[in-house]
């Protein structure tokens, strides 16, 4: 029986078995950001410890950074204080900081892949639950808490239990207008928001084989939304082509050795799994969440479920979600009026996300509906530069979107980009939890970037496939 990637990489990084039964596991890379690290650095200083592998730790600032002006000092003194702590901590301990001043900043899960730091066969951790994003490269990538950030700073290791592995295959062809975001929302809808607890997800099958690295990242990013601590795709030529030539990628003279090693850590063809699930790509349609967990979703042409459709124990939650969202059971999701549209985040803030939206709206004279506030936020400064180089900033601005600086922005409520009151937001981010977008009573509908753009222009939830198929000037 062959072995899967999870087992191989876990074993290669295992330092020893701990008396507790857990394993001490080496972390090949730790990514750091300003929110979950200050207390960890404080603990290191307090106890007089050192950071033994500073060159395997990298930092950036993303959650608190404003997207209107990143001029220092930041307008929010608390945010400025956090940024200063990060600057001091990384400087004192010899850790590279991807700074806004040098144009290197971005969302922590974007900077790793962009710089070539994220590579197959690595163990990666970050004090952030969307670290699974890096799994797109065939790495084991975990979100951790601040105490564990401290552990990794002090020892470059973590105490981890072994996960089970579920292989999720999506075979066949996605229909036009169905995107990676819809695939992961579909998987979460089918397997549940805690279906992945105790598992690593291995995403496989024809759809993933055909996906670009950015599409794989979108899916892996939301593994945690399905309860899985990490999710990955086996590396292949697509992975190697993406990596080649990036700053931290293996140099040309070592390239063949690197590829050989990466090939060796892939799941064997006869690998065993604790569970295998298969989906048919043609069953997936554009998905919109209607509730307060990413699993509460429907296909755009479907109606909301009825409370009675759910098992007894889940009914109170469904009723609570409907009440919070102010939706009726059985109503269509199409036609839901929106107030805000957010294009960005570590799920969908990459160049290919914006490229697809631009492809839909460019040259058609479409404009954001007058009652909608629509913002476009690149996931990193390098994405922003590329967008400007391609002229996307103009396309978006002319269509009535605000084009912003890079950061987490309206994915969560730690910077000035927030919903107000009961506003409804069509969002390309990953979480629709109560209060997630900054207003305790604000409402979030998760969907793909193209669906967000269509909603922004229509002023309400529409099926982007129909909406953008309408001939130019047909009064859309």
């Amino acid at each position: 029986m062959g072995r899967n990637l999870y087992e191989k990489v876990f074993d290669l990084h295992t330092v020893r078995r701990l008396p507790s039964g857990q394993y001490q596991v080496l972390m090949g890379l730790q990514m750091i950001h300003e929110v979950t690290s200050p207390q960890a650095f404080a603990a290191i200083r307090e106890r007089g410890w050192k950071v033994p592998y500073p060159h395997r730790n990298f930092a950036t600032v993303d959650h608190i950074i404003p997207t209107d002006s990143q001029q220092r000092p930041l307008s929010d003194p608390l945010a400025e204080e956090m940024l200063q702590h990060l600057e001091r901590n990384t400087a004192d301990f010899g850790i590279r900081f991807f700074s806004p001043e040098r144009g290197e900043q971005g969302i922590v899960h974007m900077v790793g892949p962009e710089t070539g730091l994220t590579q197959p066969g690595m163990t990666i951790c970050c004090g952030d639950s969307h670290t699974a994003t890096h799994g797109a490269f065939g790495a084991l990538a975990f979100g951790i808490g601040t105490s564990q950030v401290r552990d990794v700073l002090a020892t470059q290791t973590l105490a981890l239990g072994k996960l089970k592995v579920r292989r999720i295959e999506v075979n066949g062809r996605l229909r036009p207008g169905v995107y990676a975001k819809d695939v992961i929302l579909y998987i979460i809808r089918k397997l549940g928001v805690n279906g992945g607890v105790g598992y690593a997800y291995e995403y496989a099958g024809e759809v993933f084989d055909g996906f670009s690295m950015e599409e794989r990242m979108t899916v892996c990013n939301m593994s945690i939304e399905g309860g899985a601590r990490c999710g990955y795709v086996n590396p292949d030529q697509t992975t190697y082509d993406y990596l080649r030539g990036r700053e931290y990628a293996p140099p040309p003279e070592a390239w063949d050795r690197a590829v050989a090693w990466w090939e060796s850590i892939k799941s064997d063809a006869d690998a065993s799994y604790d569970d295998v699930v298969r989906f048919d790509a043609s069953d997936i349609e554009p998905i919109v969440t209607w509730g307060i967990t990413p699993g509460q979703s429907v296909g755009v042409s479907e109606n909301l479920p009825y409370v009675r459709d759910f098992p007894e124990a889940e009914r109170p939650n469904i009723a609570e979600a409907l009440e919070f969202m102010d939706f009726r059971e059985g109503q269509p999701i199409k036609g839901t009026r929106i107030d805000v549209a957010f294009l960005g985040s570590c799920t969908n803030g990459r160049i290919s996300d914006f490229e697809e939206v631009v492809r839909m709206i460019e040259g058609r004279g479409l404009r954001v509906a007058p009652h909608v506030r629509a913002i476009v936020v690149p996931g990193s400064m390098s994405v922003k530069r590329e967008m400007i180089r391609r002229g996307y900033d103009k396309v978006f601005t002319e269509a009535g979107f605000e084009f912003r600086e890079a950061g987490c922005s309206m994915c969560l409520a730690m910077n000035p980009d927030k919903l107000k009151g009961r506003e409804v937001c069509a969002s390309s981010s990953n979480r629709n939890f109560k209060g997630r977008q900054g207003s305790p009573t604000g409402r979030t509908l998760l969907m793909s970037p193209v669906m967000v753009a269509a909603a922004a222009i229509a002023g309400e939830v529409v099926d982007a496939r129909e909406f953008f198929a309408a001939p130019v000037g047909a009064g859309v």
């Binding site: 290669l12 990084h13 330092v15 020893r16 008396p19 507790s20 039964g21 857990q22 001490q24 080496l26 929110v35 979950t36 200050p38 207390q39 033994p52 608190i64 608390l78 204080e81 956090m82 590579q119 690595m122 004090g127 639950s129 670290t131 979100g143 951790i144 808490g145 601040t146 105490s147 552990d151 002090a154 470059q156 290791t157 973590l158 105490a159 928001v193 805690n194 607890v197 105790g198 309860g227 293996p250 070592a254 690197a258 090693w261 967990t293 124990a313 889940e314 109170p316 939650n317 969560l412 409520a413 730690m414 979480r431 939890f433 109560k434 209060g435 997630r436 900054g438 305790p440 009573t441």
Partner: protein, 203 residues
């Protein structure tokens, strides 16, 4: 303080609902900080305010439960972000929550609880419902979370609970503060790193 966590005693408080995520436990605006001090008062803040606006009372605002030290919850508690601020705010609320009993926990949340010395055993849905009702019926009932016998007692009644053997032993032996243990093996860490081509310039 003795780091061993064998029996946790106090009174209880129940927060009902599945999938209570960390954004609800501690709203993100309180993450703009460089220490965990003062997070306790903001635990469940938005949920509390929304219930208040409807004329209802969140358990964390109910004076009957103000001195509680054991929290009872339902399924998938602490899902969402990895923010340790969530268990930090719970352990800093009131007299400090010292154990959390639930149907299930998100893994990152559970791991954070271990790192902070907060045992979080699990119980079946039916048992959980009984425990919660017992706590709500009598806020003064003494509660014991016993990791040796793996039982939770509320007043007169006891229920079985579960916890994976690894973390259970860490609590019983007082070894949940992981850093010291991890530091014991730095030579082996170096040996492991030496085996990995990407840690050694692909030589």
């Amino acid at each position: 303080m003795d780091p061993r966590r064998i029996r946790i005693t106090g009174t209880g408080i129940a927060v009902r609902g599945n999938d209570i995520d960390t954004d609800r436990i501690i709203p993100a605006r309180y993450l703009r900080c460089v220490t965990f001090d003062g997070l306790g008062e903001h635990a469940f803040e938005d949920d509390r305010a929304q219930l208040k606006a409807k004329g209802q009372v969140h358990p964390f605002d109910d004076p009957r439960f103000a001195g509680a030290e054991v929290l009872f919850v339902n399924k998938n508690f602490g899902c969402g972000s990895s923010r340790e601020h969530a268990p930090q705010s719970i352990m800093r609320w009131g007299r400090g929550i010292k154990a959390i009993v639930g149907e299930s926990f998100s893994e990152i949340f559970f791991g954070n609880c271990v790192a902070l010395g907060i045992p979080a055993p699990t119980a079946s849905e039916a048992d959980m419902a009984q425990m919660m009702s017992a706590v709500e019926a009598n806020s003064a009932a003494p509660v014991t979370v016993d990791l040796e016998t793996l039982t939770v007692t509320v007043g007169e009644h006891s229920w079985p609970v579960k916890m994976a053997e690894g973390p259970r032993r860490q609590f019983l032996e007082g070894k949940w503060d992981s850093t010291a243990e991890l530091m014991e093996a730095m030579d082996q860490v170096a040996a492991t790193a030496a085996r990995l081509p990407y840690m050694n310039g692909w030589k």
